[in-house]
């Protein structure tokens, strides 16, 4: 087992699996490795995943990664991605691409709940109700990863656990 593997109750994420998924999706070299920095979670893009109607996990893309990953899917030039991340607003084309990236990343976690499915992808800042909003206010960080897509600036991907809302069963079975 890779020492970078991320584990929590019922969940395992291997960075090399994310690199493989993204590398195939973009048809570009992608590296994913742990990073000691912490992202500002009030900016960027949040993708929320769940099973059986319950949110369980979120991936936060910092503005650089959000712009770069959205751009890389259809080879939008890196300078355009840099400009989007600098402005803090993603053009519709980049955001739409990023939604597909987040959709594919739903295949990354190996869970005892089966495949997690993308519930929503939100550009931040945004008012998010319930457990997802709580996860941003009091984040339970599972990992911060540096994602490098060839030709684009490296950016941070933060993995957040979503605590179940009151009354929700944690394991969903």
């Amino acid at each position: 087992m890779n020492e970078l593997d991320i584990k929590m109750d019922g969940l395992a994420l291997a960075p090399q699996d994310a690199a493989a998924l993204l590398g195939t999706l973009f048809d570009l070299q992608v590296e994913v490795r742990s990073d000691s920095r912490k992202s500002a979670l009030d900016r960027g893009v949040l993708a929320v995943y769940g099973s059986s109607g319950s949110a369980r996990l979120a991936f936060h893309f910092d503005p650089i990664l959000a712009a770069g990953a959205g751009a890389a899917l259809t080879r939008i030039p890196a300078p355009a991605a840099d400009e989007a991340s600098r402005l803090g607003r993603l053009p519709d084309s980049v955001l739409e691409n990023l939604c597909e990236v987040t959709n594919v990343l739903g295949r990354w976690p190996r869970t005892r709940w089966g495949q997690l499915r993308l519930q929503t992808t939100v550009m931040l800042p945004a008012a998010l109700p319930g457990p997802v909003g709580q996860a941003l206010k009091k984040p339970k960080l599972l990992a911060t990863l540096l994602v490098t897509i060839a030709g684009y600036r490296p950016g941070l991907l933060t993995v957040l656990a979503i605590e179940p809302a009151a009354g929700e069963e944690r394991d969903g079975r």
Binding site: S93, N97, E100, V104, R107
Partner: protein, 124 residues
């Protein structure tokens, strides 16, 4: 060869189009959901194959697949699901509903080629 791509993601339609062109597909039509794809098929002109996502608004890929198989004029058109749904149970559901192929995203051009060749199409 003419192929209809059905996916709500413009980026994914672009990637699929590239892969299909690489295979030698001469004409690609696009639809953004199952309902529009169904209307496109019924209106014609006919296509040689359909590549359809599963999760889409209006009518999802499975609903589209069932509707096509229930339509005597369309039922023979080969349909390949192209989706992030990777669980065996989902694949079995699609197969039972009449899918001729199943590709899990992300895909490579080789995967697309092998799928089309598996349906009997010859690339360049």
């Amino acid at each position: 060869m003419k192929v209809l791509i059905v996916d709500d993601s413009k980026g994914m339609r672009l990637l699929l189009t590239r892969a299909l062109r690489q295979f030698g597909v001469s004409e690609v039509a696009e639809a953004t959901d199952g309902q529009k794809a169904l209307e496109r098929l019924r209106a014609g002109p006919p296509v040689d194959a359909v590549m359809v996502d599963w999760n889409m608004p209006a009518l999802d890929g499975l609903g589209f697949l069932k509707a096509v198989r229930a339509d005597p004029k369309l039922t023979a058109v080969p349909i390949v699901m192209v989706t992030t749904e990777a669980e065996a149970e989902r694949m079995e559901i699609a197969k039972s509903a009449g899918a001729n192929g199943y590709i899990i995203k992300p895909f490579t051009e080789v995967t697309i080629r092998e799928s089309l060749e598996g349906l009997g199409f010859k690339g360049r």
